[in-house]
Amino acid sequence: MSIDKDTARRVAHLARIEVPEAELETLAGELSNILGFMEQLNEVDVEGVTPMTSVTPMELKRRADVVTDGGYADKILSNAPDSREGFFAVPKVVE
């Protein structure tokens, strides 16, 4: 599977990474090369094999559905690039 320039542009958009138009061709080449390496997986017969979704067979623990933490908005906001009046601030989203 080879990635063309349009696919590279689409992937960059999906990943929310701004890539200048002039660099898309190079990016497409790099991604194609890595995907080419992954093509080896097609040699493996995976018919009937269950995909591994958990590293160790264990039941995830449950806890009581109660509030155990919170009440420190100032700490949550302390690392924000922009916060105002107890909220994260971002550029205008709705016109």
Binding site: V11, L31, F37, M52, P91, K92
Partner: protein, 495 residues
Amino acid sequence: MAELSKLTIAEARDKMRAGEVTSLEVTQDCIDAIETADVLNAYSTKTFDAARAQASAADTRIAKGDAPDLCGIPLGIKDLFCTKGVASQAASNILDGFKPEYESTITQGLWDRGAVMLGKMNMDEFAMGSSNETSVYGPVVSPWRRAGSTKELTPGGSSGGSAASVAADLALGALGTDTGGSIRQPAAFTGIVGIKPTYGRCSRWGVVAFASSLDQAGPMTKSVRDAAILLEAMCGHDPKDSTSADLAVPNFEAALSGDIKGKKIGIPKEYRLDGMPDEIEKLWAEGRDMLRDAGAEIVDISLPHTKYALPAYYVIAPAEASSNLARYDGVRYGRRAQLQDGDGIDEMYSRTRAQGFGHEVQRRVMIGTYVLSAGFYDAYYRRAQRVRTLIKQDFEQVFQAGIDAILTPTTPSAAFGLGEMADVDPVQMYLNDVFTVTVNLAGLPGISVPTGLDKDGLPLGLQLIGRPWEEADLLNSAYALESAAGFVSKPDRWW
């Protein structure tokens, strides 16, 4: 400068308890050593005032006789761990200025035991790299050099600062993390010991996530005994990490008898690569002989899907990374790109991520995005997960057949020069992980032990892979290998 920074953790512990040295003396000696080693670029943040305060408190505790093993031991912490009020940047520009309001479970456990933090350690950005060259802080320089050469070498990666610090005696031990080999490969490149425990042994809470089903933290130390001591303090169940195992943590140090009589050590034929340097072959053969001489039975085994581990890893790890790194959006922490008039929230996201992530991280996030995208999920991600099942089954079958541990080389070569891999394609760099990624995919414990030098005088390591949850037994096999190899080389001080 005294010689106190050269002590092992076990030696320092015993001397402190005996009243021969204080933690403050050992800590100050490490600080002095670090201050003269800036050229190695091993530390990204130094926390010396806090270290001296912790050391003094530890000395009070030791004097009272209430002293856990790690009390007063100065350590370095990989920049991937969140440490309260101290820069925790994962060596990325996108986390510039981030100071967590919380402490990772593992580091909190160390401080509760009285350990001392010297600072944070340089690494590859978001732990993505094998040479420490993707760091926003610049590469770490290995304390090792080829005989007769002044060329700067990589300490390996991603835990390069941790490895270089321990090898150069800038800390008694260090924390690393390992997603595809990031503890074991740098340990091998710098002549130290590094263990990645079973997936779930150590809490991942407060450790910046790369690939959550592969990431595990572990110790990087000067000896197997030190690895046992430090690992024990890092392990344990944590309700904040749903994948952390609720299992008792054994006394790992007590397991170090060195007796491996009757143990079955497997030698996987698939790890013999075409074009592997003779020196690596020889090292591996010597390791087999050492374990046989110590009473182990050497058994040829097969792990037939080994060849597919690397491509499966480079589907799964970037897929998980693309998901984990989605949180870096310029809203909640770190750095936001400067916006122009008229730019909206989409420009904020994409420009922040373009400026904040380095090239390799961007590449992996995009690969991950692609393999998870509609139409390709089954062909890449789901297939890789199925191959992962087969790789895990390979190991389960040999363990069921009675194999106690598996011996392999840790890396296919000794350390390479900084910049040497800059012009090769990324896949060549990924080959560094060829012997280590299988262990992460299968969730097993693996340890690298230094056992020899190459023709240029650079260290080489062998890896032992153990059964799940049997780190105690694995450490004991590693201890037997370490004792037999008698590796004592240190880098000549040039810095």
